[in-house]
């Protein structure tokens, strides 16, 4: 297999990874902007917690394949 031309399934997996990374990057940027601009501690902690939980969910589901725990890797 060429290093430059990917099989369709591998290319789809790589696109999924890129999409997840974009979501993670956007959430991180939002965290930073909110932390710099917001001075309400309760609201800030709530927003940062929600962003961290969203990022964790994306990593667990798409990068760490947590569903394989009950479905098995050979099923994907």
């Amino acid at each position: 297999m060429s290093n430059h031309k990917l099989a369709p399934t591998e290319a789809a997996d790589q696109r999924t990874g890129l999409n997840v990374f974009v979501v993670l990057a956007v959430l991180t940027a939002v965290e930073y902007v909110v932390a710099v601009g917001l001075h309400n501690t309760a609201l800030l902690v709530t927003l940062l917690t929600l962003a961290a939980l969203g990022k964790t969910w994306a990593i667990l589901v798409y990068f760490m394949h947590i569903k394989r725990l009950w479905r098995g890797e050979e099923a994907h």
């Binding site: 990917l6 990374f21 991180t28 800030l44 961290a52 990068f63 760490m64 890797e73």
Partner: protein, 194 residues
Amino acid sequence: MAAATSHAPAHADSTAHAWERVRINRLGLWLFLLSDAALFALFAASRFYLSGVERDPHLNQGLGLAITSLLLLSSLTAYRAETAFAHGNTARGRTMLLLTILMGLAFAGGVAFEWATAEFPVGELYGTAFYSMTGMHAFHVVTGILFLLVIWARSGDGHYSGGPAVWPVTATVLYWHFVDVVWVFFYPTLYLVQ
């Protein structure tokens, strides 16, 4: 001919057995990660107990954002390495592993720089929390880099090409993502909350 046909069920049995081992190993790894997560959660709780929600002015915000972005990007390359090996694309997998290792080293270097330049007053509780949390996390980053290096060195001769043989790569990459998840919580806890 008869010998050839009798080999097929034996091969299927051996593959099924290999997948069964992967399932058991995966469960064991997740249990380890869960227990490790409890440790990190206690570190984060102690930070709030020691210094409330105050943010320390000595931290370098630009550096914090930069190393966070780097670690997130290294998760992408680790994921790409795993999928490449799963599809039998060893060359691409090795390249992605190497990029992940380099970004991990850069992250560790960033933390070391922060340690060297942050000026916490002696006895400040926030400093205790900061050094404990980043120190423990950096230790995990360094061990993750060592695991990645071992996998990279062994992958040259096609060790991990497709099927259950990819498990060592998957396990190492899982560990790397876990280290990333911990930082997802540590970054706002240390740098952003105020």
